[in-house]
Amino acid sequence: MNVLQTHIGALKLERPGIVASGIMDETGDSMARMFGLGAGAAVTKSIGSERREGHRNPSFIEIPYGYVNAMGLPNPGIEGFEEEMRTAAKAGTVIGSIFGSSAKEFSELAVRMEAYGASAVELNLSCPHAKGYGIEMGTDTNTVRSIVSSVKDSVKIPVYAKLTPNTHLLTEIGKAVQDAGGDGIVAINTLKAMVIAPEVAMPVLSNKFGGLSGPAVKPVGVRAIYDLRASLDIPLIGVGGICGWRDAAEYIMAGASAFQVGSALGKDINVFKKINSGLERFMKEFGYSSIKKMVGAAHE
C-alpha cells in the first residue's frame, strides 16, 4: 500500500509532489529526470501559441528567503514543444501549462497539449510579469469563467486553473473556475514584487517588477489554499515556498490534494525524495493512513 498515493479528482498520482511550472521543465529530458528524483508529475513551462524569448536579463534575483523573477514567459511556442512533451509524457505524468490572450487561444493550446500526451492542462491565469497575459486576465471573474468553460468544452483531460494571490477576489475567482466546470485550482502563483539597487537608483530586473517565490511566500499560499478549501468543492493543488515535508503537510492540511515545488529545486534537486520520505515518516507517526485523510485536516 502506497500511503503517498493521491487523487486530484480523476487524476491519480503515486507521489503527491509535482514539479511547478517554470522549473526544470523546459525540455522533456529535464522533466524525465525529475520523475526519477521522486516527483509524482511535472507541469511544463508555460507554453503559448508563438515563440517568445521573454524578458532581457536580469530576469532573476535572490533575496533572503526567496527569489524575484521576471522570465517573461520564454517558450518555443506550442509547435516547437511537441517533441519535448512526447519525451516527457513517455517518462511520467505531465501537466501542460499554457497561456494565451483569449479563451479561443487557451482552447487551441489545450487541444494541442492533449494531443501531445498531457494528462491535464494548467491554465496560467496568473503570471505577474507578462503584459497582456496572466494576472491581467486572471483577476476578472467573467474572463476566467469564459476561458475555463471554453477549454473544458475542447478537451477531455482535467483542466486546472493556476490563480494569483495578487487580488482580494481569490475565492470569487475560484468559484468562477468551479462554476465553469474546472477540475481543480492551483494556488498560488508568485507575488508581484520589486527589488531596487540603491547604488544605481534603478530596479534590478529589466522588467522592473517580477514575481516573488520561495519560503517567503509560503504562509500566503497556505492561507490561500485554506480560504479556497472553505468555499469550494473542487480539488486544490498547493504551491508556494515548499522546501520540506512540513511545508507540504501544511498545504495538504489547509486543503490541497497535491502540491508543487519550484524554487527549492535550485539548491536541492533531491528535494522531492526528502519530502516523500519525511511525509511518510510523519504519516506513520501521527496515524494518517493516506494523503486523503490529511487533506483539509486543519479545518476540523
Binding site: I23, E26, D29, Y67, N69, G266
Partner: protein, 253 residues
C-alpha cells in the same frame, strides 16, 4: 547572494580582452562563475579568473554586454550574483594538464594557481594569446598553440594536447574554451584513457538551477555544472551538438 560592487581594477589582457577586479562577500571555488549585471544593459554569466579576496572576471568584447563592460572604468558600479556552480575538483598530487582555448584559459587560472599544472594556451594567433606571464608564475611547463603558427605550436589546442599527453603522464585534464574544442578534447581524453573535467557554457537566465534555460540532456549547466566530468559528458547527447536558444527551442550548434 547578490552584491553591488565597484570595479577595483582593470587590466588589459589583449586588444579585445580585459580583466576586471572587485571585492565581493563570500568565498568562491576554482571553476565557479558569477552573474554580472551591467546596469541598464544586461546580465551575463562569467567565470571567475581569480577567487581571492579580490575576485576577477576576464572579459572578451564580443557582444553588447561584454562591449558595455569594456566601457566601464575603475570605480564604476556593477552587480554580482553568486558564486554559482560546482567548480573543479582537484586532488593533491594529481598530475594535471590544463587546456584553455581563447579567453577560456582565464576560467582555469584559479585551479592553476591553487594546484599547479602543466598548461596549454590555445589561440587563433599570437595577438590572442592571453595570460601567459601569469600562467608561467604557477607552471614550469607552458605550451602555446596558435592556428596560424604565429606563436608556439602551429595547430589547435587539441592537436597539441594529443602530442603533450603522449609524451607525458597525467591523471587529469581540465579544460575550458569553445565547445567545438571541448568536444574534441573530451574525445582525445576518452581515447587515451585520461580523466577530464571540462567547464561548459550555455545561455543562462537565473544561473541558480531554477529556470532550466541552460539544460543539456536535463542537466543544468549552471547548477549541476558548469564543470562536468568525462564520464558525465559521454552521456550528454546534446554536448557539441545542440543548445537551447533564449526561447528554450533546441538549436543545432
Amino acid at each position: 547572494m547578490n552584491d553591488i560592487v565597484r570595479i577595483a581594477s582593470c587590466r588589459k589582457e589583449s586588444h579585445d580582452t580585459k580583466t576586471f577586479g572587485f571585492v565581493m562577500k563570500g568565498n568562491a571555488k576554482a571553476g565557479q562563475f558569477v552573474m554580472v549585471w551591467i546596469p541598464g544593459v544586461d546580465e551575463i554569466p562569467m567565470s571567475l579568473s581569480s577567487t581571492g579576496d579580490t575576485k576577477c572576471i576576464t572579459v572578451k568584447a564580443i557582444g553588447d554586454a561584454t562591449k558595455a563592460l569594456h566601457g566601464l572604468r575603475v570605480n564604476d558600479v556593477i552587480g554580482i550574483r553568486g558564486p554559482y556552480g560546482n567548480g573543479f575538483s582537484l586532488k593533491k598530487n594529481q598530475r594535471v594538464l590544463a587546456v584553455g582555448g581563447g579567453v577560456g584559459i582565464s576560467a582555469l587560472m584559479p585551479a592553476i594557481r591553487a594546484h599547479g599544472a602543466d598548461v596549454i594556451i590555445g589561440a587563433r594567433n599570437k595577438a590572442e594569446v592571453i595570460m601567459e606571464p601569469e600562467v608561467r608564475k604557477y607552471s614550469n611547463n607552458v605550451r602555446i598553440s596558435t592556428d596560424d603558427g604565429s606563436c608556439g605550436f602551429k595547430g589547435n589546442a587539441v592537436e597539441l594536447t594529443k602530442e603533450v599527453i603522449s609524451a607525458n603522464s597525467y591523471d587529469l585534464v581540465i579544460g575550458c574554451g569553445p565547445e567545438i574544442m571541448l568536444y574534441h578534447l573530451h574525445k582525445a581524453c576518452v581515447d587515451s584513457g585520461i580523466e577530464c573535467q571540462l567547464s561548459l557554457e550555455r545561455f543562462m537566465k537565473c544561473g541558480a538551477g531554477l529556470c532550466g534555460s541552460c539544460v543539456m540532456d536535463g542537466m543544468r549547466v549552471c547548477e549541476d555544472g558548469p564543470v562536468f566530468g568525462g564520464r558525465q559528458i559521454t552521456k550528454l547527447k546534446e554536448f557539441g551538438r545542440i543548445r537551447l536558444d533564449p526561447a528554450g527551442a533546441k538549436v543545432k550548434l
